[in-house]
Homo-oligomer: 233 residues x 2
DNA sequence: GTGACATATAAGTCTGACTTTTTGTTCACA
DNA sequence: TGTGAACAAAAAGTCAGACTTATATGTCAC
């Protein structure tokens, strides 16, 4: 699925990246390019390219006479989709999933409000279609099919907001929703109330009712927070 | 300030990156590594490292027998701090500033609410200090000094939220605030009402009043939206 | 027009030699 | 004993050149 492994340098990244993201090398650890090149059985040039990419993600820092130093987590480019994927693949997964869910809860209501203002007729149609798809697959253990429509729904909202920063969070939301279905508690059919909320959001967007779209989406994200026991008492 | 230019490859990036981010090469444009290496008077290895970094930002895609293709803006990693800086430095600046301000308006109120719950005593003290600094410099054309305190204030809020995704938006907010002071309308002293709001947010966080901190911060961000004529009628 | 094949092209890879920066040590001198 | 300047070693940085591989495109037979 995510195994693109474009070229040798890509293969190195897919091994070293997750390892660093999982915290296998504590901050301050020092690696040497030559040694890494030997370990991965690639030439120094290939290894250097991989290190450059890790450096651009602020996962490591390369300094002369010292080596390649692993940086503290607080330095990482945590919005880099690849970093997010690497972290979700490792031991940090639960923590990462919580952070992302909180981010979602901040962004999506505002995005829905904007979508109600800016959505095109086509986007409104897509949204309704997604919502109907969710209703149709909400019973009878069709969790995978339901997930597809759920992800599509939220993607349309984020895109329709007209804000490029929101639009680029589509992958993040997809990852969170998939995580919930595949790894977290989600044995039974989805909550009927949540399904209804999605239908109502689609309605509100179609009617251009920004305030209602925002409020309804807030209810959806509050539900997501509660599922992870992130309370708001 | 931002001119780190670490190594030759860094110098290449600082020229090529902004050019691409500014849209000088339309999506689909094809560059050749050898040609670029000649143009920048560096070896192919150095050029390749630079291309790899641009590729990790999804600004370009490198394919055999084709070359280095510039990707559509919708593919870019718009949360990469370097990409944000490059775009802010170019013709895209106004558009970028608007996107980021909308993002701010979504995130900061939620972050303030969380800060009210999670802030340490030290963070509360810092916050109060920042707010007082803002008050002290809010009159008499001390715009630069005011900006320093303003940026610090919002950084503390984002950090105190305890959410790493929010915390990493500190640079973004700093950039937006600096942009407003340096390039946009900001000839006179800051709005006294805004200053008061910051003081009140500090209060609310200190008292652990999440709902009030959130609401007051929302008022601040709504003000920022209005300054850019992003209405909410 | 369709499909198999050949060819040219540009990225990808490897190697080895050389340069540059920086750290840490050593040694002289106050 | 402490200070500092010179020195040596280590690791990244840079370069040039030869070679490999994938692939877009054109060619030809059918």
């Amino acid at each position: 699925m995510t195994t693109r492994g474009r070229g040798l340098h890509g293969h190195v990244l897919e091994t070293l990246g997750p390892a660093i993201a999982a915290g296998e090398y504590p901050p301050g650890s020092v690696l040497r390019t030559d040694e890494l090149a030997q370990r991965f059985e690639v030439s120094r040039s290939v290894m250097r390219e991989a290190v450059r990419v890790l450096e651009s993600m602020h996962l490591v820092e390369s300094r002369r006479r010292v080596g390649v130093t692993v940086l503290a987590k607080s330095e990482w480019n945590v919005y880099d989709p690849q970093v997010i994927r690497w972290r979700l693949a490792g031991a940090d997964r639960p923590h990462q999933l919580r952070s992302l869910t909180v981010l979602r809860s901040a962004v999506e209501p505002i995005a829905a409000g904007l979508a109600a203002r800016h959505a095109t007729a086509e986007q409104c149609a897509e949204l309704t279609e997604c919502a109907l798809g969710m209703v149709a697959t909400s019973r009878g253990h069709q969790l995978e099919a339901y997930l597809v429509h759920d992800v599509a729904f939220h993607r349309v909202i984020l895109n329709a907001s007209g804000n490029e920063m929101f639009a680029r969070l589509g992958d993040v939301v997809a990852e969170v929703l998939a995580g919930r279905t595949h790894h977290e508690v989600m044995f039974e059919d989805p909550d009927p109330a949540a399904v209804t909320l999605h239908v109502q959001v689609a309605e509100a967007v179609r009617e251009g009712d920004a305030a209602r779209a925002e409020e309804l989406t807030r209810e959806i994200t509050v539900g997501a927070l509660q599922e992870l026991d992130i309370l708001a008492p």
